[in-house]
C-alpha cells in the first residue's frame, strides 16, 4: 500500500508539479502585466467563468458528446463493413479504394457547408460531418489489416478447404484487429474534431447547441474566459474519448498482440 502510493506519487508528482507551476506563473504574469481579460484571461477567470456557466457548459459538452459518439459509431461500422466488402473482392477494391483515398484528402471544412445544404442545419449534418472525418482512417486501416494476413496461415486455411467467409471471419478479421484498433484510435479523436467543425457550420445541434456553437458564440461576443473554458472542455472530451478506446484496445489485444503487451520486460 505504502509502496504503491509512493509509486503513484513518483509517476504523477512531476507532471502535477509542472502543471501547478505553469498555472501559477500564468496567473502571476497576467496579474503583474495587468493584461485585459478579453486578451488573456487568468486561470482563475477561466475557472470562474466555467463555474458561473456550469449548466450551459455541461449542456454543450453533452450535445457534442452525443454527436461525436454517433459519428464515431457510424464511421466504425461503415469503415469496417466497407473494408470487408473491399477486401472480399480484388475487383471491387481496385475500383472503389482510390475514391476512398480521394475522400480522405478532401478538407472536411470545405464540404461541411454542402452537407448542411443537403441535410439541413442541426444534429443530422453534424453527425454526418463527424462520420465523414472518422470513416476514412477506419476504412483504410481495416483494409490494410485485412490484406496483411500471414501468408502461411492463409495457405493453411486453403489447405483445410476453408470457405471465403470462414477465412474472413476466422482469420482475416481477427488478424486485422490490431489495425482496426489503430483506426479506432485515430478516428475517435478525429470525430471530436468533426463534431465541433460540424457545429461551427451547422449551428445549434439540438438543445442549446454543442461546444462548437458555444465557441463561435463566445468568440463573437469576446467572452474570452468562457472561450478558454470551452476549449478546455473540448480537450478533456477528446482525451476521455481516446482513453476509453485505449482501454478497449488493451482489453481486446492485451493477451496476444505485441502492441498492447505490457510489463514483461520491465
Amino acid at each position: 500500500m505504502n509502496h504503491s502510493l509512493r509509486r503513484l506519487l513518483y509517476r504523477v508528482g512531476p507532471p502535477l508539479a509542472a502543471f501547478v507551476l505553469f498555472v501559477g506563473i500564468w496567473e502571476a504574469a497576467v496579474r503583474i502585466a495587468e493584461l485585459p481579460t478579453y486578451l488573456l484571461p487568468k486561470p482563475s477567470d477561466i475557472v470562474k467563468s466555467a463555474a458561473d456557466n456550469w449548466s450551459r457548459l455541461l449542456g454543450s459538452v453533452s450535445t457534442t458528446l452525443v454527436e461525436t459518439i454517433l459519428g464515431f459509431l457510424f464511421s466504425v461500422v461503415g469503415g469496417v463493413l466497407g473494408a470487408i466488402l473491399l477486401a472480399s473482392s480484388k475487383i471491387i477494391e481496385r475500383s472503389i479504394y482510390p475514391y476512398a483515398i480521394v475522400l480522405q484528402t478532401i478538407p472536411i471544412v470545405a464540404v461541411a457547408p454542402i452537407i448542411v445544404i443537403w441535410f439541413g442545419a442541426g444534429v443530422r449534418s453534424i453527425v454526418i460531418v463527424a462520420f465523414l472525418i472518422g470513416f476514412c482512417p477506419m476504412l483504410s486501416n481495416t483494409l490494410i489489416g485485412l490484406n496483411s494476413t500471414d501468408k502461411n496461415l492463409k495457405n493453411l486455411f486453403i489447405l483445410y478447404n476453408a470457405t471465403k467467409w470462414q477465412t474472413m471471419w476466422r482469420l482475416r478479421i481477427p488478424a486485422a484487429l490490431p489495425y482496426i484498433v489503430g483506426g479506432l484510435k485515430i478516428s475517435c479523436s478525429l470525430c471530436v474534431i468533426g463534431a465541433i467543425v460540424g457545429e461551427y457550420v451547422a449551428g445549434v445541434g439540438g438543445g442549446q447547441g454543442g461546444l462548437g456553437y458555444a465557441i463561435t458564440y463566445a468568440a463573437m461576443r469576446i467572452q474570452t474566459p468562457y472561450l478558454f473554458a470551452c476549449g478546455l472542455a473540448a480537450s478533456v472530451l477528446g482525451i476521455a474519448f481516446y482513453q476509453i478506446v485505449n482501454f478497449l484496445s488493451r482489453k481486446w489485444l492485451g493477451s496476444w498482440h505485441e502492441s498492447e503487451m505490457r510489463g514483461e520486460n520491465e
Partner: protein, 250 residues
C-alpha cells in the same frame, strides 16, 4: 499401396527460373521420406505442388489415385510449415481444432479430437494457453497436433524443426517417429537440410540439387524401426550421413 506419384513434374516461373525439373517419384503407403538439399533446390516447391497450393507447369501429380485438389477435398493431406503458424489470438485447443472447426464438425467431437492429439504431443495441460505463452518447441508440437487432428493419409512437413535448438529437435524427431509408427499407415514427407535428421527419420532419402532443382539421388536407409538413441551413435548412421553429404556436394 501407392499413395503418391510424381511423373515428370516441372515447375518454372515466367522469368525463366526453373524451380523443379523433371521430378519422378513413387511413394508407398506408410513411408517416411526425406527431401534433403540446399536452399533453392525446389524441395518446398514440390511440397507446395503436392499440397495443391501451387500448380506444376509440366508433368502429372497423382495422390491416392486422384488429383491434388481431390486429395485436399478429402482431407487426405496435412501440412506442417517451418514456422508453427498458429493463430496468436486463439488458445492451443482452438488452434489444434481448426481443421475440424472449418469442416463444421460438432463441437463435442472437436474437443475430444483436440484432446486426443494434444495428448499425443504431450501438451494436454496447455490446452487453454495462448501460443505466445509457449516455447518454440511447444509451439511446433501444437502445429504437429493440428496437422494430425484430421487423421491425414499424407503428412507434409516443410523443415518443421529447422528453427529449434538441437536438443528439442532430437526430442521432436523421436516423438514424430513414435507418432508415425502408431499411425497405421500414415505417409510422411519431410523436408530438411540436415543430413543427420534425414538419416535418423527416414526409410528413404531423396537428395536434391539446385539450379535447376532436381532429384539427383535416392538413398535407401534400410535400418528397421524403432531406431532408438543408439542408432544416432552407430557406425551405420555415420555411413549414411556421409553418403548423403557426399551426394549433396555433387
Amino acid at each position: 499401396m501407392q499413395v503418391l506419384r510424381l511423373d515428370g513434374v516441372s515447375k518454372s516461373y515466367p522469368n525463366g527460373t526453373v524451380a523443379v525439373q523433371d521430378a519422378n517419384l513413387e511413394v508407398g503407403e506408410g513411408e517416411l521420406i526425406s527431401f534433403v538439399g540446399p536452399s533453392g533446390c525446389g524441395k518446398s516447391t514440390i511440397f507446395q505442388m503436392v499440397a495443391g497450393l501451387s500448380k506444376q507447369t509440366a508433368g502429372e501429380i497423382e495422390i491416392l489415385g486422384g488429383s491434388t485438389g481431390q486429395a485436399r477435398r478429402d482431407n487426405a493431406i496435412s501440412f506442417v510449415f517451418q514456422e508453427a503458424t498458429l493463430m496468436p489470438w486463439a488458445s492451443v485447443r482452438d488452434n489444434v481444432a481448426l481443421p475440424l472447426k472449418l469442416r463444421k464438425l460438432p463441437p463435442k467431437q472437436q474437443e475430444e479430437e483436440a484432446e486426443r492429439v494434444l495428448e499425443l504431443v504431450g501438451l494436454k495441460d496447455h490446452a487453454k494457453s495462448l501460443p505466445r505463452q509457449l516455447s518454440g518447441g511447444m509451439r511446433m508440437r501444437v502445429s504437429i497436433a493440428r496437422s494430425l487432428i484430421a487423421k491425414p493419409r499424407i503428412l507434409l512437413m516443410d523443415e518443421p524443426f529447422g528453427a529449434l535448438d538441437e536438443i528439442t529437435r532430437q526430442t521432436l524427431q523421436e516423438e514424430l517417429l513414435s507418432i508415425w509408427q502408431r499411425s497405421k499407415g500414415m505417409t510422411v514427407l519431410f523436408v530438411t537440410h540436415n543430413a543427420f535428421e534425414a538419416v535418423y527419420l527416414s526409410n528413404r532419402i531423396l537428395v536434391m540439387t539446385p539450379r535447376p532443382g532436381r532429384i539427383s539421388r535416392e538413398i535407401e536407409v534400410d535400418v528397421p524401426y524403432p531406431r532408438g538413441e543408439q542408432f544416432r551413435s552407430s557406425a551405420e548412421f555415420s555411413r549414411f550421413v556421409g553418403l548423403v553429404n557426399e551426394s549433396l556436394k555433387h
